[in-house]
């Protein structure tokens, strides 16, 4: 294991809202090493995006209370000043968002926006040189005829091209960490496959540490090395890609895996479903937040289990569920596949 580039420890992010205080992220810890893709999986409200945004200081506000530690090569980012953060963003940590249309300014040429980004951080770089660099970047992310397309406006690019350009812009200053927040959710599947291949290639070639935020386990299986599963602001399970897919320990993970419509299997008569809905952060149940939706719930679940290794053979594989490993391996089998037992109606 290489030393982590980015290290997040006991991160807590709370917001004051009209309805009261919500703990959007509650005690999240993880590391990302160079050349590694860590996927954070969760639904809306799970805290996955807030976690990622907090890493580069995008959630700072008078209404937010941020605690814990985020270290990049050992230096703390959470108490860094705005100027210091500005230098980190782009140079060391870059972010790619879901919607590439709203991430570009529609009235400036794509190339000019990349040039501006480079020169804002490196004033010593001349315009011509920055422009050359922009063309190289666009070419490296697979934009054909990049030297000519550099003068196009964002609307002249297709959705997939825009996302490629967005990635090119993120790479402009040669960052060490790339955070991609649902980078392919707005794209067609054929385009998604190309963007995922691109992310994988960049990750390997440049040794980028990548945090991939997604709700799509198919995307995770294609690119991730390790997986963090979030639910209601907490990590409920974490492990290597294979551990999460082939030996999942938390019932929520079983439910997610079981409810997928898979083209590689016979279709079931009924799609296995997770009952109910994620809890409101304003009114979390006591103990395990998944308890109200869990068919395997029992008395002990009123106490929140720690995120810890529960399998002697896999110390990196951690989860928050009181069931014993034997019970888990037995109970997650539903009709021969991993899944969550149907809720009693």
């Amino acid at each position: 294991m290489t030393t982590p580039l980015l290290s997040v420890r006991d991160l807590r992010v709370g917001f004051v809202t009209e309805g009261g205080r919500v703990q959007a992220v509650d005690g999240v810890s993880f590391d990302v090493a160079a050349g590694e893709v860590v996927a954070i999986v969760g639904e809306s409200g799970s805290g996955k995006s807030v976690t990622a945004q907090t890493v580069i200081g995008l959630t700072r506000s008078p209404n937010a209370r941020i605690e814990g530690s985020v270290r990049l090569r050992g230096s703390e980012l959470l108490d860094a000043g705005e100027d210091e953060l500005q230098a980190v963003r782009g140079e060391q940590i870059a972010m790619v968002f879901q919607n590439p249309m709203t991430s570009f300014n529609p009235v400036y040429r794509v190339g000019d926006q990349i040039v501006e980004g480079i020169r804002a951080h490196r004033p010593q770089v001349g315009k011509a040189e920055a422009r050359e660099r922009a063309a190289e970047l666009l070419d490296s992310v697979g934009i054909p005829d990049a030297v000519r397309r550099i003068d196009d406006y964002p609307h002249e690019f297709s959705g997939g091209m825009r996302q490629r350009a967005m990635i090119a812009m993120a790479l402009a200053l040669d960052p060490d960490v790339l955070i991609a927040d649902e980078p392919t959710t707005a794209l067609d599947v054929t385009v998604q496959a190309q963007i995922l291949a691109l992310l994988r290639r960049l990750n390997r070639e440049r040794g980028l540490a990548t945090i991939l935020i997604t709700h799509d386990l198919g995307v995770v299986a294609e690119v991730a090395d390790r997986v963090l599963v979030m639910y209601a602001g907490r990590l409920v399970e974490q492990g290597t890609l294979d551990e999460i897919f082939y030996d999942p320990q938390h019932p929520y993970t079983w439910g997610l895996l079981g409810s997928l419509t898979r083209l590689d299997r016979e279709r079931p008569e009924r799609l296995p479903q997770i009952g109910g809905a994620p809890p409101s952060l304003l009114d979390l149940p006591r103990g395990c937040p998944f308890r109200p939706r869990c068919p395997h719930e029992f008395g002990q679940c009123r106490e929140l289990p720690e995120l810890e290794a529960r399998l002697p053979e896999a110390q990196g594989h951690r989860d928050r569920c009181w069931l014993t490993p034997e019970q888990k391996r037995e109970r997650r089998q539903v009709a021969g596949e991993i899944g969550l037992e149907a809720p009693s109606k």
Partner: protein, 295 residues
């Protein structure tokens, strides 16, 4: 059973297909002109959104229509329901030609065909209470009023898995999945025969998607509904459909039983589409990547 051994989810034997056709679309065309010039726009080009599409949907059956953005699938839905005027071609509902019918003559037929939309939040009026939203079609068509209306709406809410007490609440008080249930209750209010569902689950969270897919299947079985299910996600489409039609650049490039299209695709576009779907299985994903790298 048909030749490829399919029985519809509602238990309807598809070989009875011919007698049981509910919707028949023939050579449907919808082009949008691209105009240039001030004041009097000169037509310089056409977008062939729907370009000669034909298909049939039998009673109790689900036809899945799959395609990527820009394939014309949403325009096709709207043209079938006469929400936009089709350019040319024929749309027969229960044998009756409805393409080009006036709004007035179309109105009684609207009861028979309803739509479920992608974004439940945007398709529910935020100022109306749930009861008013679901009851509006009944009121509009003069089907029920007063206490009878309330009773029928509460029955509908119950049927889609909401509680009758939700009657007086506003849409924003509900989660995305519950909002989609409200949209489904509204679509069911007039006891339609055909439901056109345009991406009904793609805006929902993964753990909620399966609930809505199963609800639609239950309703089909209970009420004998016929679905035209439109989505970009071929995995979901395969799960719900008896037959699948694949749309690309305004045309249907392939059609067949759901399993046949997914397991033995014939058209190159269908093959490309299936190959691009990420497999939620790391070993398979690795094998596929290695095979692609070797070739």
């Amino acid at each position: 059973m048909t030749a490829d051994g399919t029985i519809s989810r509602a238990g309807v034997d598809i070989s009875a297909h011919r007698q049981g056709v509910l919707l028949e679309v023939k050579n449907l065309v919808k082009h949008f002109p691209v105009r240039r010039g001030l004041l009097i726009g000169r037509e310089v080009d056409r977008v062939r959104a729907v370009d000669g599409v034909s298909f049939t949907v039998s009673r109790g059956e689900t036809l899945g229509l799959v395609g990527e953005s820009g394939s014309g699938k949403s325009t096709l839905c709207r043209a079938v329901l006469q929400l936009i005027e089709p350019g040319s071609g024929s749309v027969r509902f229960e044998g009756r030609e409805i393409a080009g019918l006036s709004r007035r003559r179309m109105r009684p037929l609207r009861r028979e065909m309803q739509m479920i939309f992608q974004d439940p939040d945007a398709s529910l009026n935020p100022r109306k209470r749930v009861g008013q939203i679901v009851g509006y079609p009944l009121e509009l068509q003069g089907v029920a009023r007063g206490t009878e209306l309330r009773r029928r709406v509460q029955e509908l809410l119950d049927r889609v898995g909401l509680s009758p007490e939700h009657y007086d609440r506003f849409p924003h008080e509900f989660s995305g999945g519950q909002q989609q249930r409200i949209g489904i209750a509204r679509a069911l209010a007039l006891r339609p025969k055909l439901i056109v569902a345009d991406e009904p689950v793609s805006a929902l969270d993964v753990s909620i998607r399966a609930q809505i897919v199963n609800l639609l299947a239950d309703l089909q079985e209970e009420l004998g509904l016929t679905y035209l299910f439109v989505a970009h996600d071929i995995g979901v489409v395969r799960h719900v459909s008896d037959r699948i039609a694949v749309m690309h650049e305004g045309k249907i490039v392939e059609e067949g039983s759901a399993d046949r299209v997914c397991e033995q695709p014939r058209d190159p576009y269908t093959k490309a589409l299936l190959a691009a779907v990420p497999v939620p299985d790391p070993r398979q994903a690795r094998a596929r990547r290695e095979a692609a790298a070797a070739s």
